[in-house]
Amino acid sequence: MSNRNGLVTRRDFMKTAGAVAAAPLIVPSSVLGQRAGAVAPSDKVAIAGIGIGSRGMASVNTVLRYEDVRFVAICDLKRERRELVKKLVDERYETSDCMMYAYHEEVLARPDIDAVIIATPEFWHAPLSVQSAYAGKDVFCEKPCSMTIQESRALADALRRTGRIYQAGTQRRNGPNFVWAVEAARTGKLGKLQTVHANVGTYLMWPPIPSKDWLPAEPELRKEVFDWDRWLGPCPWRPYNSFYVTGGGGWTNWYDFHGGGILEWGSHTVDLCQWAADCDETHAIEYVPQGANGAPYQVHCTYPNGVKLVMRDGNNLGERLPNDGWLGMGSCSVRFEGDSGWVETGDGGKIAVSDDLRGEAPERLSDRLVLDNHWRDFIWCIKTRSQPRANADRACNSHITCHAAYIAFELGRKLTWDPAKEEFVNDAEANRMRSRAVRKPWAI
């Protein structure tokens, strides 16, 4: 990105110095793309996609609508995926310019690419995000953002060092109904906040503890069609089985590939709870697991400010749980309880409140544009170098809370956590579970 004299270019400098500017930047409207069709090519944010499957396509389809963004490249180990995404992009732009790559190094080496969408299986999320940041790219990375406590911290540290902009794919932070509920909690509408509840999914689909079994071995595909060794990437070796890589998350619920059920939705709902409880910069300090891996479960946690967090099995498949008022308002639902009121909401946009808030709370806020809101937030922050709603620090902290809960559940005992030292108190076994080795040559 330097000019021929090796000096840092204006584009490079804007990508770093702006991040710590004390005063708001005055940015011309043309840069922000506010005049549709009038965005100069040099002001368009050039984006590449890495590992674009069914989830990643939602982001690709979103950005293809933006005049101030240009999707320029697709990287995927599967040839058929590369070709499919290229076809979609080329049809949208009426060109044949979208480049295809099998390996992410080629994408990261392009100086013209400003940002990447990372939508690979989750064990690649943190290593790829870190590599992308050091390569000078801003990052939109699907959740979950990390596989361990150590990875969470390494991710946040890398983004801090590099000054790159990071947005986790926890788009509910820009969902109107969720924002309303969080604001109610943070502004005192509920009184003093007592307890926050996070629906972390159901054990029937995502047990808290993934399986350490292996699937039977199948013959590997030719590398040009699908590179199994590269797909494994940072995960230790195991034989190939096509089920792992089938669309729809065949890798979920396998220990090396998936962080477990708590993280599956907890990366969204615990994240919202931390925000509501004003704990974005810390982690829960106490974890008490309840239930077993093959049954409805909960983890009861406490934040440093005394607010309780209940991570709860979703109960959205008819299982009966203790009647503590939880309504269960669909996927990724959250409930915030204060000493004078409560609010509960979930995907679909419906909002339920205590009697005294009726009339003040909307019955529903459409979540149709949630991903669009989240992406506009990210694009704005790329241009202004301010921090988006789901930045690396917030993602790191909510993920640490989820990972710590997982460790408590796997060990089957109460754990106490020191957020300042980022270690468990008086529990050597738990501390040994804060990280995993990464397969050579990868590192994070």
């Binding site: 490079d12 110095a17 540290d157 292996w214 039977p216 595909l221 089920f243 080795a437």
Partner: protein, 245 residues
């Protein structure tokens, strides 16, 4: 097991279908439960079993995962013996990274001269994870070695360990190393500076100033400039040249 040339192996989803496939049956030799219940002595016996077929790798893999949680210093030698096995070494490293006993550091350092290529990089990365302060010298030798990828990994490991010894070694390397290794060494200095900031701010800023030169790769230079700006902003005072600090 590998059959190069296969495009449609058995079990792949049929074309035209949608929705999740049924999960295949788990063969008995790939079920982890019984191994996970074993004590350390039994797990160590598994590590010594012969065979490199997937079933044998699986048994060692699960044993290593369990030893990562319960293994003591008694586990270190059998785990170290697996560091030269391409498929099992990463599982062994997982356990060695987590065993608190210093014999794990010794075992990893002793493995360095015995390995090459990716296996050596793996051990270097484990040393990096453990931040072994006694590894700076051997890492320095690797930085000066022939394998650029190993050298780069060693530089990052030294940077992660940080401290005056690492800083001195890395700065010297920056001036003498091959072009192919330069990016890794610069990255190591960046890590070193970041880790040093709380305890030796002046030293850290000096390293960052070094990285701000125009001949430093962007992957280190731009983050270094960013860290200089944030370091100055964090103290809410005008930025001055490090020599004036």
């Amino acid at each position: 097991m590998r059959n190069i040339g296969q495009d449609n192996p058995a079990g792949q989803k049929p074309a035209g279908t949608s929705g999740r496939r049924e999960k295949p049956e788990i063969p008995a030799e790939f079920k982890a439960e019984s191994i996970e219940k074993l004590d350390q002595a039994a797990l160590l016996r598994i590590l010594g079993e012969p065979g490199s077929e997937p079933a044998a790798v699986f048994r060692k893999a699960i044993a290593c995962k369990r030893l990562a949680v319960i293994g003591t210093k008694d586990s270190v030698p059998p785990l170290a013996a697996l560091l030269g096995d391409d498929r099992v070494s990463d599982y062994a490293r997982d356990a060695l990274e987590s065993i608190p006993d210093p014999s794990a550091d010794v075992a990893l350092r002793e493995a360095l001269p015995k390995l090459k290529g990716l296996l050596l990089i793996g051990v270097v990365n484990s040393i990096r994870r453990r931040r072994d302060p006694n590894a700076i010298e051997p890492l320095g030798e690797l930085i000066r070695g022939e394998d650029a990828a190993v050298a780069g990994a060693a530089a990052l490991a030294a940077g992660e360990i940080s401290g005056p010894l690492a800083a001195k070694m890395l700065v010297r390397a920056l001036g003498t190393t091959k072009e192919a290794v330069r990016e890794g060494v610069a990255g190591g200095i960046l890590l070193c500076a970041d880790r040093m900031m709380a305890e030796d701010r002046k030293g850290a800023l000096a390293l960052l100033d070094l990285l701000s030169r125009s001949d430093i790769p962007n992957s280190a230079r731009i983050p270094a400039m960013h860290l200089q700006v944030t370091a100055a902003a964090s103290l809410k005072r005008p930025r001055v040249a490090p020599s004036q600090e």
